[in-house]
Subunit: 150 residues, 2 copies
DNA sequence: CGACCTGTGTTGTACATACAACAATGCTAG
DNA sequence: CTAGCATTGTTGTATGTACAACACAGGTCG
């Protein structure tokens, strides 16, 4: 008999829940909550994440390092950074070798959004449950590439 | 002393890892893997998910039901569906009350992609580990709204 | 029968994301 | 000092996502 691979794969596709589908659903639900909470502060959770990554880094980061830290594509980071730059929330990072930095205005924006962020953080933790938060921690570690810097 | 809320929130923002940031990172890494595996078959994992949701549903679904099942916005589903419709992979779902259905071509596309999907599924399971997969299962359940149909 | 309302799908706009291709920078070798 | 070259940032294009606002049924009530 001629088969195997394909038919087994088709059977699995029909019967096994797709891990990516689970991740996408989780993403829509969780990110949606944060974005809703942050909306009136004029930030998305993606933008806040970028700002906080820069603010809490132990040194100034170039674009490529920031992209590596966040495990996102250079081009994605370039556009995210450009949006914040246009609004005066970050400077630099727009030339090879130039580090990016959060401006005082950017820091102010982040701090002004802290309360809304914390409400979303708490509400989400409650939705997920303590074991859910632990599960997410585990997954985040599993997908995080150890940064190779010294 | 005057404070509390705001300063505590700012302190938390600086010290607590953001759950949404973890979810976003997980999303980028996992979905990226599936999309890469599926690319040469002309499908994204989002599209495959949509097709399989329709194919495995126990009855024909209208757009609003499909959006509910996937917990995504009506407008998002409308565009995703429109892309597949333009390629002849689904029909219907374009008028209030009209159910959407996968065409034979759409089904063929999904089945042709099954092996690539399964490779990504297995590789991802290995990356996450058995406990990671269980963790993701738990999270998916926690964010899934029980559909209220009867 | 016709005028509303309600629910459903689409469209305008904006953001997040990635791949491919391009541009700009800086280093290195000659 | 200049010509390559590798690295890094941007841009073109496409998808996925959501909110607001609009368009389009279908049902109800007068």
């Amino acid at each position: 008999m001629y088969n195997t691979g394909r038919e087994a794969a088709v059977a699995a596709l029909w019967s096994e829940p797709c891990l990516a589908a689970m991740v996408r659903r989780l993403h829509r639900v969780v990110v949606g909550r944060y974005d809703e909470a942050l909306r009136r502060h004029g930030l998305t959770v993606a933008q806040l994440d970028l700002l906080m990554t820069l603010l809490t880094a132990d040194r100034a980061l170039r674009s490529v390092e920031l992209a590596g830290a966040l495990q996102m594509d250079r081009s994605t980071l370039s556009r995210n950074l450009a949006r914040l730059r246009r609004r005066g929330l970050v400077t630099g990072g727009d030339r090879p070798g130039a580090a990016a930095a959060v401006t005082p205005a950017g820091r102010q924006m982040a701090e002004d959004a802290a309360e809304a962020w914390l409400r979303a953080q708490r509400a989400t933790a409650e939705m997920l449950g303590a074991d859910g938060v632990a599960a997410l921690d585990l997954l985040a570690r599993r997908v995080t590439t150890p940064d190779e810097e010294g």
